[in-house]
């Protein structure tokens, strides 16, 4: 047997292995590179808007690009209105469903519900938009006696369905992760099942539930097709509650609807990218918060062969 200090045969394959490991390391770092790349490109195409269009124009309340009005506020307003409505619908429903599935439902019910939620998660947003358009909006119009069903409210409903699966599954995981010892302790002290849930399990699962809500929120704000086909696309700001029941337009829908028609390099083009920047920053912030909550206290598991 040869000396251990020599370079034995098989070194050639070591070079191949070296190349593979190099690729793996590059792949690992690519996530950072890609986020930076995306942000860079958005900036590249969007910042010209900030000197092509006056600041007062950008923060005005009129979005009529064909006449040179590039007020982003109505779009921001539309996004916020629809998203708020979606959150108000999906968080209570989603949480309740998660609690029901994890704590209350008999296992046969859970076996049916879980795949169903996954199926809902898989429905493409365009199909939900279509559903909203042909089924929900007419209902909204008839029940609430409105001139049109294509309103922020209808958008909120469809958005809620887009966000629900995310909220339900993450909240469910969070509830599931609460140690059995906590529950057993409370029950041993004489608490009912619901009291245990309300006072022990939910507070313990709070970080995970918060993560679920934030990720659902992020999904809702970023959604395009489901809102575009259902909210009526009128870039207006309303100051009363009734605004919920009139058409609005979101940032996402604006980009989707108008980008196809603009000339590359035109002012309109740059402003749309600027709207994209705003959208990117908003979702970045929301997901950053969610990530911090989620990653806090979670040790990195990989990279070690033995503990």
């Amino acid at each position: 047997m040869g000396s251990l200090l020599s370079w034995g045969k098989g070194r050639v394959s070591r070079w191949g292995e070296f190349a593979v490991e190099g690729f793996i390391r590059i792949a690992g770092g690519s996530a950072i590179f890609l986020v930076a790349l995306i942000f860079f490109f958005l900036l590249r195409e969007g910042t010209p808007a900030f000197w092509e269009v006056s600041f007062s124009n950008l923060v005005s309340t009129r979005w009529y690009p064909t006449f040179g009005f590039y007020g982003i506020l109505p779009l921001l307003y539309g996004s916020l209105l629809v998203t708020t409505g979606a959150i108000l619908l999906s968080v209570p429903l989603g949480l309740a469903t998660a609690i029901y599935m994890r704590e209350v439902a008999p296992s046969w019910v859970r076996e049916i519900l879980k795949p169903l939620i996954e199926v809902i998660a898989g429905i493409p947003s365009v199909v939900l938009g279509f559903l909203g358009m042909v089924a929900i909006a007419p209902l909204v119009r008839r029940w609430l006696d409105l001139p049109t069903g294509l309103t922020a409210f209808a958008g909120s409903i469809m958005l809620a369905y887009m966000a629900l699966p995310t909220i339900v599954s993450i909240a469910e995981d969070a509830i599931d992760a609460v140690p059995k010892a906590y529950r057993d302790g409370a029950l041993a002290l004489g608490a009912t099942h619901w009291q245990t849930i309300y006072r022990v399990v939910l507070p313990a699962a709070r970080p995970g539930i918060l993560t679920a809500v934030m990720l659902g929120l992020g999904r809702a704000i970023g959604e395009t097709m489901a809102v575009m086909m259902v909210t009526g696309n009128a870039a207006r700001i309303g100051r009363e509650w009734a605004a919920l029941f009139r058409p609005v337009r979101t940032m996402t829908a604006t980009i989707a609807a108008e980008m196809g028609e603009v000339a590359q390099g035109s002012v309109h083009y740059h402003v749309l990218f600027a709207v994209g920047i705003v959208l990117f920053l908003v979702t970045f912030a929301i997901n950053g918060v969610a990530a911090t909550i989620a990653l806090r206290g979670q040790p990195h598991r990989g990279g070690q062969l033995m503990r």
């Binding site: 070591r14 490991e21 793996i24 390391r25 590059i26 792949a27 690992g28 690519s30 996530a31 950072i32 890609l34 986020v35 995306i38 490109f41 590249r44 429903l93 309740a96 469903t97 029901y100 599935m101 209350v104 439902a105 169903l116 996954e118 809902i120 898989g122 429905i123 493409p124 947003s125 365009v126 559903l131 358009m133 042909v134 089924a135 929900i136 339900v168 009912t192 099942h193 619901w194 990720l215 992020g218 970023g222 395009t224 097709m225 980009i255 989707a256 980008m259 590359q264 994209g276 959208l279 990117f280 979702t283 970045f284 969610a290 990530a291 990653l295 990195h300 990989g302 990279g303 033995m306």
Partner: protein, 281 residues
């Protein structure tokens, strides 16, 4: 009211909530299927659209979606699996790794329309690929990355340490161990993640709006630089942009898209449960 009665009321409300989530959707989906089934015929599935898409079939859209799904797979899978292997087997517990994870979570949270914008800016315009299959695939691939990375990493971490240790002690290198022990055993989990990621890519409209989708292109694409129709975009277009479009065709297209996407969902579920049963640990 005793706590027990209160509990029963609350639990009833919770059940109601769960029903409110699931039932309306089932009803509405059922409505679409019922309306759309009538439109589905062999001609519908195999012919080109005619008369401004008001008649004929949706073949080019179906083919386009299939091709885009393949393209997404090619664009996303190698990089995603590489990144997953890195995180699970090579990365150390330091701030760089944490930052990478943060970036992956952020990539997952970027709206699909933003990916569309980026795809337009980089692939279509800057790299001059034009609206093409390749631009669309790259854009969709990028969007699919975070999902596949996360599930693949989970699958790799789930492989017990003991196999790795045995392989190393027999004189295996790190990569040999990953290649011969870890990856084969993590494969079903990785596959599930890939299928779920591709399922999402197949159903997305916003990323393909400006990068590949064609409004009315009654032909099968012949090269990666061609534009193509695609099912999600097609559904959007025929339900909002074409006056006089028969409702049954709209419903039928929705049904086909749903079927495509949900069958991928089902495949992923089957792969997952079959793998769980045959696990060697």
């Amino acid at each position: 009211m005793s706590p027990h009665t209160g509990q029963r009321i609350v639990f009833g409300l919770l059940a109601l909530a769960a029903a409110a989530v699931v039932l309306p959707l089932l009803l509405v989906v059922g409505y679409i299927v019922w309306q759309g089934l009538g439109a589905i015929s062999w001609e519908f599935l195999s012919a080109m659209p005619r008369n401004g898409m008001r008649e004929g079939g949706i073949l080019p859209a179906m083919v386009g979606t299939v091709l885009l799904t393949f393209g997404t797979a090619i664009a996303a899978i190698p990089l995603a699996i590489g990144a997953a292997i890195y995180l699970a087997e090579y990365a150390r517990d330091n701030w760089v790794t944490r930052f990478i994870r943060l970036c992956i979570i952020n990539l997952a949270g970027i709206p699909s329309i933003t990916y569309g914008l980026f795809g337009l800016g980089l692939f279509v315009l800057f790299l001059k690929l034009g609206t093409s299959l390749i631009a669309g695939s790259l854009t969709l691939g990028l969007m699919t990355l975070p999902v596949v990375i996360s599930t693949a990493e989970e699958a790799i971490l789930a492989v017990p340490q003991s196999f790795r240790v045995v392989s190393i002690s027999l004189g295996g290198t790190k990569w040999q161990t990953i290649r011969h022990q870890v990856l084969p055993q993590a494969l079903p989990g990785i596959l599930t993640g890939i299928i779920l990621g591709l399922e999402r890519a197949a159903g997305e409209t916003a990323p393909i709006l400006f990068t590949v989708a064609a409004f009315y292109l009654p032909q099968i694409p012949r090269s990666p630089l061609d534009q193509t129709m695609a099912l999600p975009y097609h559904l959007y277009v025929i339900s909002t942009q074409v006056p006089g479009m028969p409702l049954t065709i709209q419903h039928g297209t929705a049904v086909v898209l749903l079927f495509f996407v949900l069958s991928m969902n089902l495949t992923a579920t089957l792969v997952r449960s079959r793998a769980r049963r045959r696990r060697p640990w």
